[in-house]
């Protein structure tokens, strides 16, 4: 028998919609103007969603490492991520704190100031690209901007698709992305479940580094480990610090220049990236990688 007015399905729909209605009307979702992001991934994602965080940890360095999306000038600095200034946070009266995994005692303190959400994308247990999309969507849902979040994810996918299309003609397979240490003797490489690895897969290439890495998905290895690594393209960058100049004083680049991959001219410098960033950083990285490989194609 069929109920003429409401089907069971309709009832369920209403029930499902109920919490959403409440949030939008009476229950006051966390005010999007009073969010503190101690975790940089969260800060970056907030900016992508069009929400300016009230305060971010270590703003000066944030601006140097992540320039897209740009952090507006008015955002306050709450100190380093391992010891955010709790008194300042308390005075700011945030509606939500997006935190790193800090020491438990500090976390307790943060919880007394505002609801705390620990961002756990890194260290990644599974595919970083997927986790970043999920994180962005979740944050969008939570902050009542699901459309913006969906748009960010969609735009990121589209950007990746464009890069992949550009790269299709270029049959580059194994790519190594590394950060050269400032004295030129070490390289930080990114292995399984790192953002670099995920981006390379999204672009239809493979990560040349398949050896063990630390819990955070990185490994700091001597340059000599790269000698016999099977690589088609090597993309390197350096941290934007003054020490880079020192390196030239301290150590020649004998082995670097002798690396087979370097000698064959298959290396390209690219601009630096923050390896634990969000979708925007990942897209930037993808574009950097694409530019580096294509720009090089002209010279070949």
């Amino acid at each position: 028998m069929k109920n003429p007015c409401f089907s069971r399905r309709d009832c369920l729909k209403v029930l499902l919609a109920l919490p959403l209605m409440k949030i939008s009307s009476s229950m006051a979702a966390p005010s999007n103007h009073r969010i503190v992001a101690i975790n940089w991934l969260a800060a970056e994602t907030l900016l992508s969603l069009g929400i300016t965080p009230l305060a971010v940890s270590d703003t000066a360095y944030f601006r140097r490492r992540i320039n897209m999306p740009a952090l507006p000038a008015g955002v306050l600095d709450v100190g380093p991520f391992w010891e955010p200034n709790i008194e300042m946070l308390a005075a700011l009266k945030p509606s939500l704190i997006l935190s790193d995994f800090v020491a438990p005692a500090l976390l307790d303190n943060l919880r007394r100031v505002a609801p705390v959400q620990v961002v756990t994308v890194y260290p990644a247990a599974s595919d970083v690209w997927q986790s970043l999309a999920v994180f962005t969507n979740q944050l969008g849902q939570q902050l009542n901007v699901p459309d913006a979040a969906a748009q960010v994810v969609q735009r990121a996918n589209a950007a990746i698709e464009r890069c992949r299309a550009l790269l299709r003609a270029n049959r580059v397979q194994r790519v190594l992305v590394m950060v050269r240490s400032q004295d030129g003797k070490y390289a930080t490489v990114y292995g399984r479940n790192s953002m670099v690895d995920a981006v390379l897969h999204q672009l239809g290439m493979t990560n040349a580094w398949t050896q063990p890495v630390s819990a955070m998905g990185t490994a700091n290895v001597g340059i000599e480990k790269l000698v016999s690594l099977p690589v088609d393209r090597l993309l390197f960058t350096e941290l934007p610090t003054t020490l880079t100049q020192v390196s030239r004083l301290r150590q020649g680049q004998g082995l670097w220049q002798q690396l087979p991959i370097v000698a064959q001219g298959k290396t390209h410098e690219m601009s630096h990236f923050f390896p634990f960033g969000g979708l925007a950083t990942a897209v930037n990285l993808a574009q950097n990688i694409t530019d580096a490989i294509l720009g090089a194609g002209d010279h070949d």
Binding site: P80, E83, P123, E224, V227, Q251
Partner: protein
């Protein structure tokens, strides 16, 4: 007199080393050949393996020779670039100029390192010259300078954490090479300096006897000393600028040469660099061999781990009958009156009030809510300072040594060592680590007691044992930081003495601990007073030596563990507060305990307050701040005690 060793004894030392070295070399070589094609293995051989081997040989020779020269001139088997603080000075000069003043880099890193080393050596000389360059105080001052330099380095790293991995791999002493440039740069100066030192062989040998006999034989003692020291300082700076701080070699090579029965200095001068080269090669090959696949084990950290036990072994062998324990000093003329006590209590209350209410805060701050976060830190700092201060009094009284303190004797380091291990292995939060901290400090104290019995509780030997423990824990934490463990940052922050992690319950627990343990210390008055009259007197007056010593030291261990867990191992408050108390006239044990506790609490409250406000909203750790004041204070005390 030690009986002469058989002639083949040097071979007995050198041969196994040579075999180990050759074996490891062979293994590492097969690894290269095994995992690479012919052309790439050639490449690796020429641009990485051989330069590294050459570097370890050259650096090993330089370090061993520097150690030998320092030891001969200072007549001290414990002297080497790392223990004298010369390497730390060179290193600090480099990293400070890189971070703070990049313009200086036009002079070149080697010259900066040289300048740092020379300044450190000058400072060292100024600080110890009044005591007639007594062997152990030279080392003592050197190691405190070294600790001080390293803690400044830690501040630099904390505030510039983008440099973190690079600065650490640099400081930890890495021999990794990617070309011949460094070796080429190092080879000529080192060869030159070795040649120069050979010219000094004869006069140096005479100086080794005694200044008097040397000058009667027509040697200008001052000139020869200066020349030899200059060579040694230059060698240390050169090596440090290329490969960072590497301890152990300068200590071990001369010791092994002496141990193998080479008595004449001119022969030591030849054998020591050779053995040094062999040793560093062996350590470096070992580091390469056991390096994990995802990283690189720094040679300096490995040699740091090896050097602590060696230094302890050398300390056991060393006999210094000439050194009298430093006197406690006559009772000062001032008396600690009730009025002074009143002032002190008032000052403490004022300090607490300032720390609670007078702070840089954002505008819209509700005081009640801010106090909620502030009082645990203030109370925790207060309790930690008081506990460490009383521990300092106990240890100074027990050992009759005004230089003793939980920090300098390594008791704090012992407990922090176990705390770090417990965090890494069992993944426990800091608030639950009192048992580990206590175990660590008890272990450190038992070690000290063991060494103390052998050396008749000679003050400076005890401090050296403590500094060895401190070095050991530093080497371990370097390794931890290099491992890229995400907990490393938190631990680094704790070990510099941040009070941010002190929650309300922890502060209450610490305050309760202080309230329980400090009165217990007061109860020990009879034992402590009698013991400070000397062990024989105490025994004739009916004090059970063993029992009383153990009880006093156990109490000191508990106090230290409590304090260290709150503000880290490097605060120096246990050194300063008792000294200040005595200086202000609290000479009797109970008065000293009480006044020290008040002063220690006051000091830490002030340090915590400064740390919270100086770089606001960034924090500066209270423990680090008090160490930055405490270490110079200690050096000043040492200088003054020499003048008397």
């Amino acid at each position: 007199m030690i009986k002469p060793r058989p002639r083949y004894f040097p071979l007995l030392v050198a041969l196994p080393l040579l075999l180990i070295c050759a074996g490891l070399l062979q293994l590492n070589l097969t690894r290269i050949h095994g995992s690479n094609t012919l052309s790439t293995s050639q490449l690796l051989l020429h641009f990485s393996f051989l330069p590294r081997l050459a570097m370890s040989i050259v650096a090993g020779m330089a370090l061993a020779l520097a150690g030998l020269l320092f030891q001969q001139v200072l007549r001290n088997t414990l002297a080497e670039p790392a223990t004298l603080g010369i390497a730390a000075g060179a290193n600090l000069a480099m990293s400070a100029s890189v971070i703070l003043c990049p313009a200086l880099l036009i002079f070149g890193l080697t010259n900066l390192a040289l300048a740092g080393a020379v300044i450190t050596a000058g400072l060292l000389y100024l600080l110890v010259v009044r005591q007639g360059i007594a062997p152990l105080s030279v080392i003592l001052v050197g190691m405190v300078i070294s600790l001080y330099g390293n803690s400044i380095n830690t501040v630099l790293v904390l505030f510039n954490h983008d440099y973190l991995s690079d600065l650490f791999s640099w400081q930890a002493g890495s021999l990794s090479q990617s070309g011949w440039q460094s070796v080429q740069l190092l080879l000529l100066p080192v060869a030159l300096l070795i040649g120069l030192s050979l010219l000094l062989a004869r006069p140096l040998q005479l100086i080794g006897l005694s200044d008097g006999s040397a000058s009667t034989l027509g040697v200008s003692v001052v000139k020869v000393r200066l020349a030899a020291l200059a060579i040694a300082v230059a060698l240390s700076a050169l090596v440090t600028s290329k490969v960072g701080i590497i301890g152990f070699i300068g200590l071990a090579a001369p010791a092994l040469v002496r141990l193998s029965g080479v008595r004449r200095f001119s022969r030591q001068l030849i054998f020591t660099p050779l053995l040094g080269a062999l040793l560093l090669t062996a350590v470096d090959q070992l580091a390469q061999f056991i390096s994990p696949a995802g990283g690189d084990l720094p040679t300096g950290a490995l040699s740091g781990l090896l050097s602590a036990p060696l230094m302890l072994a050398l300390l056991i062998r060393q006999r210094n009958p000439t050194l009298a324990p430093a006197p406690l000093g006559a009772p000062p003329e001032r008396k600690f009156t009730a009025r002074r006590l009143g002032w002190l209590v008032l000052l403490l209350l004022a300090g607490i009030a300032v720390a609670l209410f007078l702070n840089r805060t954002p505008n819209a701050a509700g005081l009640g809510q801010l106090l909620e976060f502030r009082w645990p830190r203030v109370l925790g700092a207060l309790s930690a300072g008081a506990m460490l201060a009383v521990a300092g009094v106990l240890i100074q009284r027990q050992s009759g040594n005004p230089l003793a303190s939980p920090e300098l004797l390594g008791i704090s380091s012992g407990s922090s060592l176990l705390v770090v291990l417990a965090v890494i292995i069992f993944n426990q939060p800091l608030s639950q680590l009192f048992p580990a901290a206590l175990l660590g400090s008890v272990l450190a104290i038992s070690l000290l007691f063991m060494f103390g019995l052998r050396s008749h509780f000679q003050p400076q030997t005890m401090v050296l044992v403590g500094l060895c423990l401190t070095n050991l824990s530093m080497a371990l934490s370097t390794l931890l930081l290099m491992s890229g463990d995400p907990r490393a940052m938190t631990l680094l922050n704790w070990s510099t003495g941040s009070t941010a992690g002190i929650t309300g319950p922890r502060a209450m627990w610490a305050f309760g601990q202080a309230l329980l343990l400090i009165p217990l210390a007061l109860l020990l008055q009879r034992w402590v007073t009698l013991l400070s009259l000397g062990h024989t007197t105490a025994r004739t007056l009916g004090v059970g030596l063993r029992r009383s010593n153990i009880v006093i030291l156990l109490l000191a261990a508990a106090l230290t563990a409590g304090g260290t867990l709150l503000i880290g191992p490097l605060s120096f408050v246990g050194l300063i507060a008792p000294q200040l108390a005595r200086y202000s006239g609290a000479y009797r044990f109970r008065a000293q305990c009480g006044v020290s506790a008040l002063l220690g609490g006051l000091l830490m409250v002030i340090a915590d307050w400064l740390g919270r406000n100086m770089a606001w909203p960034w924090p500066i750790s209270a423990g680090l701040l008090s160490a930055l004041i405490g270490a110079p204070w200690f050096l000043y005390l040492l200088m003054k005690s020499g003048r008397a």
